[in-house]
Symmetry: C2
Subunit: 530 residues, 2 copies
């Protein structure tokens, strides 16, 4: 039986943080912001949330794959951002989908799209529902909405053990990919925080960023070819290791966020499961000393798998909030060769920038799961579960991410940090916190991932949350960054994306969409307006 | 004073192969194909070629930047493929451009495009004119044509020494980039055979492949942002090290081959000039033993700068044509660290596949210029000069390139080789030769670069040449490959490209073009029809 997802928050209905996780976290937050206790809104039960009646009648031929029951519609109404949790706790879901389709194959998708066309309904492609940018949220303006969940299209169809690639369906969740590859020597290793509850098709549609901090950062780099079902028909690109024949068709769909069609399958690159690992945690006196080291490592052509620079106070337990220290979680991995030469040189570079390495025992198979690296890893994996508990307590806890070339990073970091801090203070009347990490790094710049926190007024929780997040995200674009490095645009980022992307490109994209989706039914409001 | 290009062939008017190069080459060809002597057509003089009178009157305001003289129009009529040389030797140039514009800035480009619009002329963007796919050749169907040469927009405008990037104008030639970077620690190192007479804008428009055999293979990987002048206006993408905000605007122009607009400048990634090098030549008993080694090296994550697998008889002097031997030109380079560990492991892998290494002295600064690597390098650089001399003698000597995933490579190689050999025999009535090399290699497959030769009937030289090249190129697409890995589509590859790319993508691209180029004036006939 399919494991039931938690309709109002991250994860599955049968799992939650333990009291042993909640209590020290509450204490830490209370101390950080000078709070004595929390008013905890109870988690919603599904029958506490009233939904508008469905505005669609499911044709008899589709009833076996389309559902309109309360819980199904509720579960597909929101993504998993902080503002989604807050609204669920407010029992406020004004725009649920009218129906949710669960196609089992491309023919089913075509039938559902035909129905949407005839019924005048909008179609929202749905993978794991982990969007944090309102990417799968029905817009208020839509008269009728059918959400199309790909969850039954969840198979690894073919593994090419010579070229190290696999043909995989779009609706498969991250862990199922690795499960289905278990009998092979291969792994995809595209892990991100949403890995457990997000899909290959979703990753491709949103240009997700994964485990690798260098080289294979975005899903873009994994894709050999795609199949897409559009309202104008199905399309398949040719499977190739490389091509220079015109603008890449794959790149038109990478990042298309469901506005052009539904990604049903892809050939993706795999690699052999790593058997050699070298990991280290390196402490720097502050974030910018660490940033200089990271820049030098990426420009040296060493290509670590992991190269995440974190503020110690954000990432590690027991570090006082006043600490300026930074920690670099550095790892090389290979299925082919020992990594001493790589790690030795990377640590020399760290040393040149004042980094003190805490190298783990090279014989320790689980080095990446212990020490600072392990502590960070645990926090990273568990973090999404805290969102509902923060929302329930009026705790502001969210993130935004961007990218910037190195020469502008210090000034940009200073400005964005100041804006975030000032905005929290202005909106909430209290001091908040803001920290930064680098999640992915390139020779010419990092992805800056900001985490911010504070205490909201629960009576105006949603309004305050949105004002802070909107102000900070807008600032990243105003100061030259991208509105998103790997969280997608969705409906939330639209105003900032509209400033970032050239208007002539928007016109070209709109024209391309009109060709593939003549009635503008696919994921309306995302990326462009018709 | 600007050095005059040779109007009818590769290179500059004041340079040619020496008798010391021509004689042994002639002897080798004569021996290979059993020929006793060659009938040599003399190189054309410009006044031997009659051109249709220009069909345009240049407005007085543009006369300082637009030329209609005979030599200028002649020089911009053809690219540098074998069929271009043959036609020049035939003194046959039926469709020259009516005028050639030499804008000095974007405002000039806008003025020229406005003139084209008013005069009902087509506009063909022109970089170095090194196209081998009829990418810059005016189509017979065009009523009036203005070729727009970017050669005056040839500056490195800005160097960012922190992020290792530069803002560079589109019309700059390869060597000028490195010249203008000479006072910096940086290099672009995007070398290809056409490097001396091709431009940054041309590389971007055609998705060229360069020096690096792995990772930074295509120009795509160098581009941070672009400026493009389209008939609908100018557009600039945001300079970023990475982004996930919608489909990449840069990727729409990468490979657009002038049909959407003119690339006037780009921010591109640089790297420090390499100070550490490790090179080796590795001999394999045959091409497929070498291919297995190359596959293992790319899948091992070692990322050599050079990893070119060649048939020894094609690449090296003194190897009998009956030899099946292959040679791998392998090199690592770095500005940061010694490369022993990398090379040691790569050579171990070669050894596992029967490769016998001929490692050069690691202290030899010029290792990559001596031995098999050096012999290959010289042939590679000089090769384009042979094209006119082959054409003058009725020698068939040309190439085509494609890419394929590894698991299909042996069968694909066998089929394409057989088709090429059979086609030469059928068309010319004589045995020809065909060899293959890998120029760029990916974990999931190589770029296969085929070279073929034979003896043509000079009375039907062009017809025979076209039939052979067309048949072989068509076969690459029929058997699952790409019509081009890095030579672009142009007008020559159109029939094969039309089969390769999904029809729905063509419709989307046409729609995008209509938005940026409403009258369809930009490089008509390339990639798509209106």
């Amino acid at each position: 039986m399919r494991r039931q997802k938690k309709f109002y928050a991250w994860g599955y209905a049968d799992e939650d943080l333990s009291a042993d996780e909640i209590k020290p976290w509450e204490a830490e937050i209370a101390q950080r912001y000078g709070i004595s206790s929390f008013d905890v809104t109870p988690a919603p039960k599904s029958d506490e949330i009233a939904l508008r009646a469905t505005r669609l009648t499911v044709p008899s031929g589709l009833q076996s794959i389309v559902r309109t029951d309360h819980l199904t519609r509720l579960e597909h109404s929101y993504g998993k951002a902080g503002f989604d949790a807050i609204r669920m706790l407010m029992r406020s879901v004004p725009n649920p989908p009218d129906a949710v389709a669960f196609p089992e194959n491309e023919q089913d998708i075509v039938r559902v799209l035909d129905w949407c066309d005839q019924a005048g309904a909008m179609a929202i492609p749905y993978g794991g529902g982990s969007s944090v940018v309102k990417g799968i949220e029905p817009p208020a303006s839509a008269e009728k909405v059918v959400t199309i969940s790909l969850r039954h299209m969840d198979k690894v169809l073919e593994v090419d053990s010579v070229s190290h690639a696999a043909r995989i369906q779009g609706g498969i969740y991250g862990p199922a990919i690795e499960d289905q590859l278990r009998q092979t020597p291969f792994t995809m290793r595209h892990y991100m925080q949403a890995y457990r509850c997000s899909t290959l098709g979703g990753w491709i549609a949103t240009r997700s960023g994964g485990h690798y901090a260098t080289l294979y950062t975005h899903i873009d780099d994994f894709v050999e070819s795609l199949r897409v079902v559009t309202p104008s028909g199905a399309l398949e690109t040719r499977r190739l290791p490389g091509s220079g024949a015109g603008p890449s068709p794959d790149r038109m769909f990478l990042g298309s966020e469901g506005i052009l069609g539904i990604i049903t399958e892809a050939w993706v690159r795999l690699r052999k499961k790593p058997t050699f690992r070298a990991s280290a945690s390196v402490r720097f006196k502050n974030f910018f000393a660490g940033a200089d080291a990271v820049r030098a490592i990426t420009q040296a052509g060493l290509y670590p798998a992991n190269c995440r620079l974190l503020e110690a106070r954000e990432a590690l337990p027991g570090i006082p909030w006043s600490s300026e220290e930074a920690v670099l979680v550095l790892a090389f991995e290979s299925a082919d060769h020992p990594l001493e030469a790589w790690m030795k040189r990377a640590l020399e570079i760290c040393g040149d920038h004042g980094g003190a390495a805490d190298p783990t025992d090279p014989d320790d198979e689980n080095a990446h799961r212990s020490g600072a690296a392990g502590a960070w890893r645990n926090r990273f994996i568990r973090a999404p579960h805290y969102s509902e508990h923060a929302a329930a307590r009026g705790i502001l806890s969210s993130t935004f991410e961007t990218a910037m070339t190195w020469e502008r990073v210090p000034e940009f970091h200073r400005k964005i940090t100041a804006i975030t801090r000032d905005t929290i203070k202005r909106v909430t009347g209290r001091d908040g916190t803001v920290t930064c990490r680098f999640t992915h790094v390139y020779p010419d710049g990092p992805c800056l991932y900001f985490t911010f926190g504070g205490i909201l007024d629960k009576r105006r929780q949603l309004e305050q949350f949105m004002e802070i997040l909107t102000t900070c995200t807008a600032a990243t674009v105003e100061h030259g960054g991208t509105t998103t490095h790997h969280h997608a645009v969705g409906r939330f980022h639209r105003p900032f994306y509209d400033k970032q992307r050239p208007e002539l490109f928007a016109r070209a994209l709109r024209a391309a969409k009109r060709e593939l989706d003549p009635k503008g039914m696919m994921n309306p409001g995302v990326l462009i307006d018709p």
